[in-house]
């Protein structure tokens, strides 16, 4: 039965990971606008003839 100690450890690590991901999503503003992404996802990413310097994701907000 001692294996339960390990299992509990794993389950807690997993749960904490999800909590951390939730924090990150919150900080990124995922919950601020719940409508626009539903439209954005339908746009097609057609290949452009000239791949210019694609925008890098900038994370520095404040």
């Amino acid at each position: 039965m001692e294996v339960i100690f390990i299992l509990i450890g794993i389950s807690l690590v997993l749960a904490v990971t999800f909590l951390f991901l939730f924090f990150r999503a919150m900080k990124d503003g995922q919950f601020d606008d719940s409508y626009t992404p539903s439209v954005r996802i339908l746009f097609e990413n057609q290949p452009k003839k000239s791949i210019k310097d694609q925008p890098k994701k900038s994370k520095s907000y404040e």
Binding site: A15, L19, F23, F31, L42, F43, K48, K56, S58
Partner: protein, 809 residues
Amino acid sequence: MKPFFPNETQSKCYHCGEDCEDESILFDSKKFCCQGCKLVYEVLAQNDLCEYYQLEANPGKSQKENSRLKNRFDYLDDPEVMQKLLDFKNSQESHITFYIPLIHCASCIWLLENLFQINSAIIGSRVDFLKKKVQIKFFHDKISLKEVVNLLSTLGYEPKINLSDLDHKAKSSVDRKTLTKLGVAGFCFGNMMLFSMPEYFSEAKLLGEGFKGLFDYLNVVLSLPIVFYAASDYYLSAWNAVRQRKINMDVPIVLGIVAFFLYSLWEIFALGNPGYMDSLGGLLFFLLLGKIYQQKTFSTLEFDRDYKAYFPIAVTRLVHDKEEVISLTKLQVGDVVLVRDEELIPADSLLLSNQANIDYSFVTGEEVPVPKRKGELIYAGGRQKGDAILLTIQKSPSQSYLTDLWNNESFEKSNKRLLEPLSNQISGVFTWTVLTIAVAAFVFWIGKDVSIAVKAFTTVLIVACPCALSMSTPFTLGNTLRIFGRGKFYLKNASVVERLALIDTVVFDKTGTLTDPANASIEYHGEALSSETKSILKGMVERSTHPLSNRINLWLGKTESLKLDHVREIKGSGVLAVYKNQEFRIGSKDFTGATNLPLSESGNHVFLSVEGVILGYFHIQSGLREGASKVVKDLSQNFDLHVLSGDQAHERVSLGQKLSSDVHFNFNQSPVEKLNYLKELNTQGKNSLMVGDGLNDAGALQESQVGIAITDRVSHFSPASDAILDAESFDKIPSFLAFSRDSRKIIKVSFGLSFLYNIVGLSLAVQGLLSPVLCAILMPLSSISVVVFTTLATNIMGIRKGLIHLNKH
């Protein structure tokens, strides 16, 4: 109302979808209505962005009127203005958020998020569709803010930059914080439940002592974030209340939390018992859930707008006959400013040009422009219609007749907190009762068994923790808020519902609130109109956007319009047309050459002349809004009714007949007088509801217990208020008021329900019988049943009041 001809679809502008009238421009085998639309298409085609046109048909905005001067954004080069507008700036990039009213479809999102393909100096952009906002990030070395705005404006997406954008507002991250707390509480609560599971089913013995100890310690660890982070708002609120020698609902909650936590620690570490940590987690989780449910507000609507949200950020000043664009805050008395077509008068000023036509519809709700002559004083807040005019500033923008309203002390402090929420009224009694019972139980047991005495004392506090009690208010109010929202009545926050329930006096603004410009009564006086003349008239008024033209157009009904030569609208005067070599004019007295005609003093007059001979005139008076008289009659049974109007008193009799004789009419009310009228009602101890629409009602809306702003388009202009009502739901006002009272009753009944749970729980607790399992069952059960009850009750009431329609399409 444009007639629909199926064969016309081919001659629609590819960009904006408007009919290409005479001179359509053919480009790239596509038709465009004007050079502006073609230009936008060209820009997009060059950058390979024509997918814009595939996502939605004709997504653009007509560029016909976009011929304004290029220098109007010059103020954006001012470093001070720039610094105030930018969200973020470092050595390389700048971020800015614009409000763009035009954002209306998927194409808009797509184009605005592909700006970087047009100009490589733009790093990227992000649209918030519901708020109609776009955040743009750009390299400020390669492109200036002004150029960004110009680019947007070329594409037809001109951002709206108002004076209020300069006031630095801190981004509210309140909602994010509560959500994070809920996440933490949910995480801890869920895991604690799992670890407590063996305890519930008495399996702990089976697992052995080692596991039991581990689970209990894990529960203690998991309870720490809940007690010290997720619950922090409650401590703060309770502390503030106690410091003011008051007791609000959060005081018993905090008592409960502390008792829960300390007693569980004692149980686990001293006695080796399981404790109540899981119930504590559940309590906080449900409490925060209720808080968020109630917090749902209509974030896309703005309830706090003052005049700054309407005023432009910059004006064109004339210095030595040279135009310069300066920011409004630098405008001084004596400056000469140029105000073009559709621009706002920034401050009280004298007219230097010969004539002007000022549209005061923001201010008064009356949409027919007022003609002004040279030397007349023009109040700030009007909009010029027609040619550009010159003005000398008489007062600074913040001291003008209208804007001075905001310097009134009513805007300094809020006077709406006189009413305690229902939950706070009972929480004082509740807390003292619970404490008395706890002490009584302690005293009763102390002689017999000290450990049972301690247990009884703490468990009374734990079980009495008003979880269910404090859930009933947020869920009832949250539901009411949603039901109102479905009826197109948007409240600023949940506390407005409780204030609405206590209203006993209703005050209406007249123009634009009780009356509706679209419901105008039109009478024609003069020679009878032949059907041919009517058709000519129709052809003329269809080409004009003036509100009076629209009304005459409606009056003409389905008359076929004739194709006329040389139809021309002279802004501020009228419409001129030639038909069979005869000159037709409709418009103002001067424009048509009318001289001595008997005129009644009220309403507007539009004259019709042929070859200089007056045929007759239209007498147009604004009519009552649809359902207004019924609303007033319904309300007059239960409420004290008042009507405030800025107009002359000559309509008193006719209004009195149409509405109700019990109504108190007050005419000639200036914005400040309206405010003082409400103040007077307040000092009489009345709970007043103000219903208004224009900026001139802003003071009264602020001063009243509940201020409702009526608007035809909710996302558009409305002065600061507690609630925004879509004009089409005007007739539901009595139902809304009745429903807010029902929801107050529902809160009371659900209080009773949660008291019942408390009595059951307490009777167990005083006997020292409460166990962790019982607690874990009783807590969520009481909360959930209260939530279910309030949700069902509000919805049933909503259906009865006709605010919810079951057969939704």
